[in-house]
Amino acid sequence: MSIETRVVGKSLPRLDAAGKVTGTAVYAADFALPGMLHGKILRSREPHARLVRIDAGRALALPGVRAVITATDVLDVRYGGGLKDETVFARDRVRYVGQPVAAVAATTREAAEAALAAIDVVYEPLPAVLDLEAALAPGAPLIHEAWQTYTAIPILHREGNVCQRARIVVGDMERGFAEADRVFEHEFRTAMVHQGYTEPRAAVAAWDSAGQVTVWSNTQLPFEIQNTLAEILALPPSKIRVIVPGIGGGFGGKLRVGVEHFAALLARRTGRPVKVVTTSEEELTAAYPRQGTRVELKTGVTRDGRITAKEGRIWFDTGAFAGSGPGVASVATLVLAGPYRIPNLLLEGYAVYTNKTNCGSFRAPSGPQSNFAVESQMDMIADALGLDPLDFRLKNIVREGDEGPTGQVLEAVGLEECLRRAADAIGWRDRRPAPGRGKGLACGWWTTTGGSSGVYVKINPDGSVAMNTGAAEIGTAALTGAAQVLAEELGVDLADISVVSADTFATPFDFGAQGSRTAFAVGNACRAAVADLRRQLFGLAAAQLGVDAEALTLRDKAVVADGKRIALAELARLSQASGGGLIAHGTFIAPPTPYDAKRVEAHVYPAFHSPSFHAHAVDLSVDRETGEVTVHRYVVAQDVGFAMNPRYIEGQIEGGVAQGLGQALSEEIVYENGRVLNPNLTDYKMPTSLDLPRVESILVEHPSLVGPYGAKGVGEPPNIEPPAAVANAVAAATGVRITTLPITAEKIALALRGEGPA
């Protein structure tokens, strides 16, 4: 990049670092109020059953117990994102092990737990639908018999246990396959996995005498929680204030209402503040994990390695309620296309109900599952054709000006550079350096999610600047990035900026900390605010300095022109004395990305905004006895558009790869007969410091036309490619192709012995 910058683009420390290393930063789980009660949730023990009777008599008689509420105590409201199928409590039927049946408030957590144990529930088990095959079988029991009566956005295509089917159709499939010399068909499967944030979901709710409720929560989307609570409580949103004190990780798992509604309902019933915090067991049985999937791909290729057609289907096991399923199934189709030029496409994404926990969004929702299939198959095809996997990809990748699968015109395409640099860094031409050792590549593309952002920017009378945003800081340092943009544009230092965030009453609207959008959208809103402040400042300064406003610029915390200068602090004081102070409302929404509507059906996410491109390369060894994988080196080349803060972007890449390697090698929520077998952090195996390699980050910069200084979204992409890169390296190292996630040592060892399914 040739832009000279002072603040943005520099690896400056994050604004909230001091509180986080001294223990003074307050997270939702730390929040407490005087007289606060503790809430706990009683959850279904049956995957599918009629709820015959709930008797809370014994529980209510226990010491310290202040309330027990069930479905009969709440309004019969169904809520949800694009499809409103969820209820606060099971009413006459439970649909998964973990579904809320009752909630308790008591003076201590121990008393609340004792009360849960004293509630008598009678279930009458019904046949359960335990996997995708059972849900899709002809005559399968319906998870929601009344699915047609549910409110849904009209675009969704639903049928029985399928709560969404999105489709992309391009070209002529028959001709495309006829043009191919070889047609390859493969099937892949991926496991359900959890976001693994270290802070459990937590909320404290308190009502005031005006009938207004305030909820302190670690949600990523305070404005969505405000609206969802309004539906559940049948109150106008103006009666609901949601404040995010701090978030200990989210990764998409804290998008939807989790414990906030229980806290609000129990607080209303008891007249006392109530805190609800999930346990690890609740997280692993009743949160919003990433869906397990089955993927089928059929790809036609010419002898020299040109892809002529691809037919792909992915089925998401979305659990007993739709959750994020309909959106995820739609996004998946764009990932299934891959970052490749393919003239003929038929791609379908299905979200399917089963009697499991309600699945949600996890960093790049649909990305790792779809990319694992696509990029595994690319290597399988290359091997079958005798082509080098890198050359095969380079022959088919999208380049500047190409069309995406739905007809969007691709700009700022850094994919070839990413692939070449990742391959060079890993030493690609020596793919099998030793027996049992191999290298793998995978590449992909991803979106920078849209949605609007507003900021209020205020200049204080001491010249410091307050950035007031509705976005929450989930840990990525996205708000530090946005503040760097603000400081750059306003001619101040990063240290001059303070951040006020995520309070639905006090901060402007923001679409939320999701979809790799926060630094991008809030940064652009800050630029809009500075444009307004410039007019205000220059108007005041022109009169004071006796110069034309046209001649003024912002520099070194002052307005300057022709050797004259007046400090921002002085202008702020002047404005306070005469005009109510210096404040601006900056807003941003990503412009729509044009696409060809004829190519999509029932699709809620038909184009990728300001897409990013990336390539991962891994060098690993496999122990031929045990199947254990040791990762030696891991390289990521990611087109970030413009690196707003290189160190924290590296942090996103290192952390995204860590989560991706967990999904690749060890993580799985294991269900048996509708029950989770490993609902604790010993048996749900997230990588520790001993399990991870160093990650080498290569930041490629093909500037986006929309993002601040050319930035693209960076948070989600590093999570996408690790499973495929690992699968390809394991195949290179051993000759064994594992087509299901996670790629455990056990699977590899069995496959090496020619036993067991891959």
């Binding site: 930063a25 160190r647 290192e654 410091s689």
Partner: protein, 162 residues
């Protein structure tokens, strides 16, 4: 339920606490004394966010009864910085971008502190082993390991110039 009168020495200050015998040090720190820098998650000693120093050793306060801590020296994250001045590990975590969401960081810094006190010239592998009981889901541990290495180097330099 009967209560125990405990005298707990925390960050150099003695706190008199009246508590039930089954309550953990974590409960007392967070709920009775307002020391919420020590974090809470799994409550089964699997994640390490509740790590504190007990007589200089890093332990999980979620499975430690408060009653076991009588007469012992407890250090929490709030006890490291003095008058707003970071200890070298805190500064290194800030400088190296080792902090993202930050929820694991108090426990991580204390686990690292205990390790550096024992092993002033650490290796990368040694650091990773010392921190293996502290889960971090944001960073991939790389910048954390780098921060601990840098803090150890800084401390070593400070020792040689003394």
């Amino acid at each position: 339920m009967s209560r125990l009168a405990l005298s707990l020495r925390i960050n150099g200050v003695t706190h008199d606490v009246l508590t039930e015998p089954h309550r953990t040090l974590l409960d007392v720190l967070r709920d009775d004394l307002g020391l919420t820098g020590t974090k809470e998650n799994c409550l089964e000693a699997e994640c390490g966010v509740c790590t504190i120093l007990l007589d200089g050793r890093a332990v999980n306060s979620c499975i430690l009864l408060a009653a076991q801590c009588q007469g012992r020296e407890i250090v929490t994250i709030e006890g490291l910085a003095r008058a707003g001045v970071f200890v070298p590990l805190q500064q290194a975590f800030v400088d190296h971008g080792a902090v993202q969401c930050g929820y694991c960081i108090p426990g991580m810094i204390l686990a690292a502190q205990a390790y550096l006190d024992e092993c002033p010239e650490p290796t990368d592998d040694g650091i990773r082993e010392a921190l293996a009981g502290n889960l971090c889901r944001c960073t991939g541990y790389q910048k954390i390991t780098d921060a601990v290495t840098a803090a150890a180097r800084g401390l070593a330099r400070a020792r040689t110039t003394q």
